[in-house]
């Protein structure tokens, strides 16, 4: 299985092959782009057959009581997808945690940030916490929700760590929150079995627009927010913090 250029010095051969690879990659990407362009142009834009979309838009509010129709779809109609997406993040974090465990970290990452950032990081902490919580618990009323709020919660815990990597991060609490938040999601889903099917909405629809409305959907969002927040924070703490604190 020797190539025809087997007599050429290894360095030159490697060099030539890299050129070939670049040309091949460009050609491949160009071809793929052209193919996708052709395909997309064969699909009429803006006049898609929206039978499912229209039907959901027509009845979503009445059935779920959620003012934010995105939430009605995300947690109601496609709640199982959302549980699946949370699980993808969880699985990725578990895999990354397993791979990163015990990996050495470079000097540069252990560097303290400047005075201004270090001070601001702790001053931002309570505000980020409140903002994250607000976005999570209003997810069924206004744009936002568990994923967005969870990312802000993670930032609240992660910013101080970025400012000074030696500051403590409690992985045990993060893992505890992560696990139980996921459990709450599945248990609420299983409780729905009593009313007919997995993830059936519980507790009625409530008064539209009220903070306590849309039944169990906000509870699901709180679980998602806590889970996403603790997962992201724990993952980033593993990458940037902890190890340098120990060494």
């Amino acid at each position: 299985m020797k190539s025809a250029g087997g007599y050429a010095p290894a360095r030159i051969r490697g060099h030539e092959r890299n050129h070939g690879k670049t040309v091949a990659s460009v050609l491949f990407l160009g071809g793929l782009g052209l193919m996708l362009f052709e395909l997309i142009s064969a699909v009429p834009f803006g006049s898609a057959p929206m039978q499912v979309g229209q039907a959901i838009a027509g009845e979503a509010f009445a059935r779920t009581g959620a003012d934010n129709i995105v939430t009605a779809i995300l947690l109601g109609y496609r709640g199982l997808d959302t549980l699946g997406e949370v699980t993808i993040l969880f699985t990725a974090a578990a895999a990354a945690g397993m791979v990163l465990a015990g990996a050495g970290r470079g000097e540069a990452q252990g560097q303290e940030a400047g005075f201004i950032f270090r001070t601001a990081a702790w001053m931002l902490f309570p505000f980020l916490l409140v903002l994250g919580a607000y976005i999570i618990i209003h997810g069924h009323l206004t744009p936002g929700g568990g994923f967005q709020g969870g990312a802000i919660l993670a930032a609240a815990f992660f910013t101080p760590l970025l400012a000074s990597p030696a500051s403590p991060f409690n992985h045990r609490v993060a893992i505890l929150v992560e696990g139980f938040a996921g459990l709450v999601f599945v248990v609420i889903g299983l409780a729905g079995l009593a009313k007919g099917a997995f993830l059936t909405q519980l507790l009625g629809t409530g008064t539209p627009g009220a903070l306590l409305s849309a039944g169990s959907l906000p509870v699901l969002y709180v679980a998602i927010g806590l889970k996403v927040g603790s997962e992201l924070a724990g993952l980033m703490a593993r990458v940037f913090g902890e190890g340098s604190a120990r060494s």
Partner: protein, 487 residues
């Protein structure tokens, strides 16, 4: 006509709860993580078994998640084919549960996530939901591929991750194309709309894009470059699980797409070409491979190519042959991997192995005879079903498929007998090849026993598979079960 069975979520929910809970306990009591995980798998298995019994007696079951009836919400659809592979997945996860150093919190969590994802994949009747569960399965398998914590393992897992992510993105584009053309994601709904809305190059492109995603897991040419590297570097239990069962789940999902969304000739031809290339490339590479581990990695590509060939023959007979081939491979290949994991290095170094570990060598012989297709072993019946299906639906493509299948079988026989001859080489005193501890041989022996049991019960097994294929090939009846429920 179809039963509503909300409990069908349990095979997904139970391992999912286990995966969420396991890291909490594993931090304090690492040695209990493995035990806890096994209990969760047993619980999931017994629930799946109970559900399977109910589906075998009362017919296929449907459950509309959140009470939102199809096509607005997500449905789970469970027929006998789905339950068969669900049970196979549960058994395989239990059998190949990590041991020793690998049995820490991380790998155990990933195993449970893989079980939850794979179960959802096989049960879901919704295109995007299938994608989500496919991603869970994929991400868990990237992590498991690296769980051996070796440099080779990390490198292989990273390449696997990159290839898999590109495949998944293409699959998502395919789903978007289908949704843009039909306005629905429900497979049953699609089976009514797609035949007239998803025609021409857009429909075929959508199928190829979906297959590009599934093909990474199903080891289809040319998306299987990760196979020899990952199976060589990952722990043998992980290789056995991925090659044995997880690849088949992707194949069954591809079958669902062909039956329900792409019943035209185009999709069948694509599967046929992928199958031909897979069989040829896999068998020839296996013949050239140096070690047993490599041989079986490549031969697994060839075997999945044969399943694709069978599924490319339209009608229930082809599906039955594909199921039989997939099931046979799911029993035989993991056993081969468990043997190869002990017999690492060049095949030539295993001369005289029959004196050191006679049981393992004889098991190897039986597995080889079955996978080549010598009667009366079950592998013969699987290949026989394939030929029968081909002769019933003759066409130029099918004849090429038959020829490739037989040629592949000859190559297969050549390299397996070559290995067996080395094991029985005369003049070797033995003592130079690794011996097996019982715990190392036990999973392979268990699978060998299953194979021999299948030989005895081949008649009822064949009848049950053909019933399963009839059920899974009838798209109109499936659509009626999901959509016309009179609620």
């Amino acid at each position: 006509m179809s039963q509503s069975l909300p409990a069908i979520i349990y095979p997904v929910a139970i391992p999912l709860m286990g995966a969420f809970l396991l890291p909490i306990g594993a931090r304090r009591m690492a040695e209990l993580a493995g035990l806890f995980g096994r209990i969760v798998v047993l619980l999931s298995f017994s629930t799946s078994l109970a559900l399977a019994v109910s589906i075998w007696t009362a017919g296929p079951a449907v459950s509309a998640m959140g009470g939102f009836a199809a096509p607005l919400g997500i449905v789970f659809y469970a027929d006998r084919l789905a339950m068969l592979f669900l049970l196979a997945l549960n058994v395989a996860v239990f059998l190949f549960w990590p041991r020793g150093q690998g049995a820490k919190g991380g790998p155990c969590t990933l195993m449970l996530a893989l079980l939850a994802g794979g179960s959802g994949l096989i049960l879901s009747g919704d295109l995007f939901n299938i994608f989500v569960f496919y991603e869970i399965t994929a991400v868990a398998s990237y992590g498991l591929a690296a769980s051996g914590r070796t440099h080779a393992g990390f490198a292989a897992a990273l390449r696997f991750l990159i290839l898999g992510s590109v495949g998944s993105s293409l699959m998502l584009i395919g789903i978007a194309l289908i949704y843009a053309r039909t306005g629905t994601l429900n497979l049953a709904d699609l089976s009514r709309i797609a035949p007239h809305a998803l025609t021409g190059p857009v429909g075929l492109a959508a199928f190829i894009l979906l297959l590009a995603g599934l093909g990474v897991k199903a080891e289809l040419v040319p998306l299987n470059t990760w196979v020899p590297e990952v199976y060589g570097a990952a722990p043998a239990r992980v290789s056995a699980l991925l090659a044995g069962v997880v690849s088949k789940l992707a194949m069954v999902v591809a079958l669902r797409f062909v039956v329900q969304v792409f019943p035209g000739d185009g999709a069948h031809t694509v599967l046929l070409v992928a199958g031909i290339l897979g069989v040829l490339a896999g068998e020839l590479a296996a013949w050239r491979a140096g070690s047993l581990m490599e041989t079986f990695s490549y031969s697994s590509i060839a075997q999945l190519g044969m399943v694709a060939l069978a599924f490319s023959i339209s009608g229930a007979a082809g599906i039955a042959a594909g199921i039989a081939l997939a099931l046979h491979h799911a029993v035989v290949k993991p056993a081969f991997f468990m043997l190869a994991a002990r017999w690492r290095g060049p095949v030539g170094g295993l001369a005289g192995a029959v004196k050191d570990s006679p049981l393992a060598v004889w098991l190897f012989v039986i597995l080889s005879l079955s996978i080549i297709g010598i009667p009366p072993f079950p592998g013969f019946w699987a290949k026989f079903l394939f030929l029968k299906a081909a002769f019933a639906a003759p066409s130029a493509g099918v004849w090429i498929a038959v020829f490739v299948m037989l040629a592949g079988t000859v190559v297969e026989a050549a390299y397996l007998f070559r290995a067996v001859l080395v094991f029985f080489a005369d003049g070797e005193r033995g003592g130079s090849t690794p011996r097996f501890a019982f715990a190392q041989l036990a999973p392979a022996l268990g699978l060998g026993a299953v194979l021999l049991a299948a030989m005895v019960f081949i008649a009822p097994l064949g009848a049950s598979i053909s019933g399963m294929a009839d059920e899974a090939s009838n798209a109109a009846a499936m659509a009626a079960r999901v959509l016309d429920r009179g609620e």
